[in-house]
Amino acid sequence: MKGTNLGEFEELVLLTIAALTTEAYSVAICDHLTAHTGRAVKLGMVHAVLNRLETKGFLKSSLGEPTKERGGRRKRFYELSTAGKTALVRAKSLRDQLWSVIPEFVFKGMI
């Protein structure tokens, strides 16, 4: 089925939203990702991905309260939908599975 597989960046965004719990809105997601990945994450990218993930059904969003620093505009908070959670869990278990069959000597001394 089209759209069930997660891209790398999509996965990162979903994980960030999960980590940020109730504070997950675009700018915060952007900051969090920048802090953790070390690369300059552009707002435009995050926006596009959020939009895409929402149309895929991995995210739900709701508007919060207007704030001053946003010029009186409301934030859009995102949270994972069940589908989003399932996709993340599936991606994780797939990885774990693959990791588990790698012989220990391959990464010896690195982990």
């Binding site: 435009g44 508007l63 704030t67 505009r73 409301r74 934030k75």
Partner: protein
């Protein structure tokens, strides 16, 4: 204290974002950008923060954020579109008069547009068959002489070509052409004249003319090589496999080294044969002729270069400047500047003298486009005017549409579409008109023959469609705006509240514009016509009456003269080099005592009969003496008064006996003629010399006294055939030559005359429509006035006065404007011209106004005479 404004992102960027963004995404996006703006403000300052904001707004313009344009969503309903078409056709059919006026007006004006589109497209395609099309450049000369404007020539010297070949690095290929290869080719069976070019060996590397047989690389390498075109080969040999055959040209034998396809119609130059340049080079070297490689021998040679892709034009230009600087050193006063002209500008270029082949000035094209545009605009105005005037009938429809939910943009779209639809209908008719006027346009210029065909291809048809869309938009924009603004409540409740006359000033303005145009066109035509007649009947300072000029085409003037003298119709015969006063010039260098003060002088070589036959006035000295059989060095010259002024030779009598150096030969002034017009009226009279060199004769001038011209011509032709059975007899009366010299003016008269006709018809149609509309809407008012005792004359005046004042305003603007335009622009460069008279200015105006009055009165009289009982009775 004033509050300091809060720093904020640029307003226009915010608006842009609001405009393009989907509403559901907008708030969030705006908030985010605002937040980042706040951060950047703290970090980088206001300017940078605003800049980042702008960049971000532009970056967010993506497929997922942009909302689909509104009209697309409304266009998605085929039923609505079908409905638009249906209502448009119904309204077309309902108002037959208005539809006819619109469609006819648009159709005839668009036909001019179609003509120009096809014409320009064909001009653009000239020479594009050459593989190196983008990289071919022509070297052109600019001639400087102190005290005179520099002249630009398409030609250059052979020396230029040789110098470039020897010392200009980085040129891929080059060819030198000389256009004086007019020879008779002789085989065992036939002898025929052909026109061709001398071309240096790399001709076929520069140009991509197709060879049928022979080797392109070697065809023009050896001396005495000729390349024939297919047609020439067929004419001469009746076959095309002629490579290796020999032909005789004069005393020489030439080899045919290749046969090529005829140059295509869109090649700017045409020829029947090519001769190898080296033939001519060697001959000139053997004859020790220095003029061949002279820096100023620049009248009939052309140099074309192929430049490599990566080369900078400036480098090549610098090389050319270097060459001209070195060569100019030897000359004190005159100098030549070399320039490059890309091949794609050769056909459509500014005016250069000495063009080879076909060209058409860009200036003229722009004038034509400008004129066509105003005529088309005028037809658009008819549509605009009539549509708004008829708003009363359509506004209810618009009201209902709006009530059931049509938005302003939908109504706008509907009316624009309607206009485009009408434009397309007109396009069909205009194509028919285009087919009708095409032969007329092509016959205006003899140069168009077998070069310009005006055959539209599929791409051009796309341009036609584009034109229809543009015309539709132009015509429909204003009415569409008007209808889209209608308030549905008002029109449905009470139609009379519609402010129909609100735009009355705009409409008056448009009508006035149309009449200014019509009057200007017709005045321009009459002024140009007068100028043309003036030029034809101008007193040139000698007579041209009953003089027939026969082109000798290389034949001996003496033999032909003997043959013709016996004819009864020929009263006198003289010989000359060329026909004067038709724009052709020959010049030579001239010096008096100061060796450094040399300039060029126009001249004609004549025999002793010429001055009398043409009734030139000799004001001092004598005519040339009759030629004797013994050969003698040319030593005498007759000059005009201007020459005396130029070299300060004193009065005419004083000048006799003084010695001038012309073309390197010392000559004594034996006579002085009164100044006469040796060139066209566009040029001022200059210093001029008559020389007496029998070797230069190219024309016989016959004074004819005949009762039946065609019989005489037959006799002359029979006599010609005895002397020269090969070449066709070419003779023209002097007056015809002069007419031909001003053929550009006749072309202009025809084109502007046609446009004037269009402009007047369109304006008259439009006016008729407006008058019909006004009288119709005022029928009740008129009837009541009549019942109350108004006279027919009073009513006629009441209805007409508005229009008549418009006409008066239009003429008040058009007359001075056209006068100024003709006086200061069109004929500004003409050295001798007719004054612009009252007659030309007012006759045309009067004509246009009478036609307009006819249109007005036909309607107003009808209404004024109508029986009020008929109109009021139905109430």
């Amino acid at each position: 204290m004033r509050k300091k404004p809060i720093p904020s992102p640029p307003r226009w960027a915010q608006r842009f974002l609001e405009w393009y963004c989907r509403p559901e995404l907008l708030e969030d996006l705006e908030g985010d950008l605002q937040e980042f703006f706040g951060r950047n403000l703290a970090k980088h300052g206001l300017r940078k923060a605003r800049l980042i904001y702008i960049i971000d707004v532009i970056k967010f313009f993506r497929a997922y954020t942009v909302r689909p344009p509104k009209f697309l969503s409304s266009m998605n309903y085929p039923t609505i579109i079908r409905n638009y078409f249906k209502t448009s056709f119904r309204s077309l059919a309902k108002n037959k008069l208005f539809s006819t006026i619109n469609i006819v007006g648009l159709a005839i004006s668009m036909s001019v547009g179609l003509l120009l589109i096809t014409f320009v497209a064909e001009l653009k395609h000239f020479d594009d068959f050459h593989a190196n099309y983008d990289r071919i450049y022509r070297v052109i000369n600019t001639y400087h002489e102190p005290g005179e404007d520099p002249d630009e020539y398409a030609s250059t010297s052979i020396l230029t070509g040789k110098r470039i070949e020897a010392s200009l690095p980085g040129i891929e290929d080059m060819v030198i052409l000389n256009r004086n290869f007019q020879k008779d080719l002789q085989t065992d069976e036939k002898i025929l004249p052909f026109r061709g070019l001398w071309a240096s060996k790399d001709f076929f590397r520069v140009f991509s003319f197709e060879l049928l047989s022979g080797n392109a690389e070697a065809a023009l390498e050896a001396p005495y090589s000729i390349v024939l075109t297919e047609t020439a080969a067929k004419r001469l040999f009746d076959k095309i496999e002629v490579v290796g055959e020999e032909v005789t040209v004069g005393d020489d034998k030439y080899n045919i080294t290749a046969v090529m396809k005829d140059p295509p119609p869109n090649s700017h130059f045409k020829f029947e044969m090519l001769g190898s340049m080296i033939t001519q080079d060697n001959k000139m070297k053997a004859a020790q002729d220095e003029s061949w490689l002279h820096w100023f021998y620049m009248w009939s040679n052309y140099v074309y270069l192929v430049l490599p892709d990566q080369i900078e034009l400036a480098t090549v230009q610098a090389g050319l400047d270097q060459i001209s600087q070195e060569e100019n050193k030897q000359f004190e006063k005159r100098s030549i500047e070399l320039n490059l002209q890309p091949l794609n500008e050769v056909v459509m270029s500014r005016n250069l003298s000495n063009q080879i082949g076909f060209n058409f000035g860009t200036q003229l094209i722009w004038i034509l486009i400008g004129l066509a545009l105003v005529v088309m605009l005028s037809a658009c105005f008819n549509y605009t005017n009539l549509s708004i005037a008829r708003a009363l009938r359509r506004s209810k429809e618009v009201g209902i549409r709006k009530v059931v939910g049509a938005s302003r943009s939908q109504v706008f779209l509907q009316f624009v579409m309607e206009a485009i639809l009408i434009a397309f209908l007109s396009l069909l008719f205009s194509y028919l008109v285009f087919l009708m006027i095409r032969p007329g346009f092509l016959s205006i210029e003899p140069r168009f023959l077998s070069r310009i065909f005006l055959r539209p291809n599929p791409v051009i048809f796309l341009y036609f469609a584009g034109l229809a869309v543009v015309i539709g938009l132009l015509a429909g924009f204003f009415p569409a705006l008007f209808f889209s603004r209608i308030d549905p409540v008002k029109v449905i409740k009470d139609i009379s509240k519609l402010r129909l006359f609100k735009h009355v000033n705009v409409r008056k303005g448009l009508i006035t514009f149309q009449y200014i145009l019509s009057i200007s066109f017709i005045i321009a035509v009459s002024i140009i016509y007068k100028q043309y007649k003036y030029a034809l009947n101008f007193d040139l300072g000698f007579t041209t009456e009953n003089i027939l000029n026969i082109d000798l085409q290389g034949n001996s003037p003496v033999l032909l003269k003997q043959e013709l003298e016996s004819l009864a119709d020929v009263t006198d015969i003289s010989a000359s080099k060329m026909v004067l006063s038709i724009g052709d010039t020959y010049s030579s260098t001239i010096k008096y005592q100061d060796p450094l003060d040399s300039t060029y002088i126009f001249y004609n070589a004549i025999d002793e009969n010429y001055l009398d036959l043409h009734e030139h006035q000799l004001i001092a000295g004598n005519n040339f003496r009759p030629a004797t059989t013994e050969e003698k060095e040319e030593s005498e010259v007759i000059v005009n008064e201007k020459t005396l002024e130029r070299f300060q030779l004193g009065t005419a009598t004083e000048a006799i006996g003084k010695e001038l150096t012309i073309g390197g030969t010392k000559m004594q002034i034996i006579g002085v003629v009164k100044d006469f017009h040796h060139s066209t009226l566009w040029n001022k009279m200059r210093y001029f010399a008559f020389r007496n060199d029998p070797t230069e004769y190219g024309m016989l001038n016959l004074k004819i006294a005949s009762s039946d011209i065609s019989v005489t011509m037959n006799r002359l032709e029979a006599a010609w055939k005895k002397i020269d059975p090969i070449h066709p007899f070419r003779a023209r009366f002097y007056e015809e030559d002069i007419e031909a010299a001003y053929s550009e003016t006749t072309g202009m008269i025809k084109i502007i005359g046609f446009l004037a006709f269009l402009a007047i018809s369109i304006a008259s149609f439009g006016l008729l429509g407006m008058v019909v509309f006004t009288t119709e809407t005022r029928v009740r008012e008129i009837s009541i006035r009549k019942v109350l005792g108004a006279t027919e004359r009073g009513l006629f005046f009441l209805l007409s006065k508005g229009f008549i004042s418009l006409l008066v305003i239009a003429s008040l603007i058009a007359i001075p404007a056209t006068y100024y335009l003709c006086d200061k622009v069109i004929f500004a460069e003409m050295a001798y011209r007719a004054p612009i008279g009252i007659l030309e200015l007012f006759l045309g105006t009067f004509l246009v106004i009478s036609i307009a009055l006819l249109a007005i009165s036909s309607q107003t009289l009808r209404v004024a005479r109508a029986n009020p009982a008929n109109t009021l009775g139905t109430e």
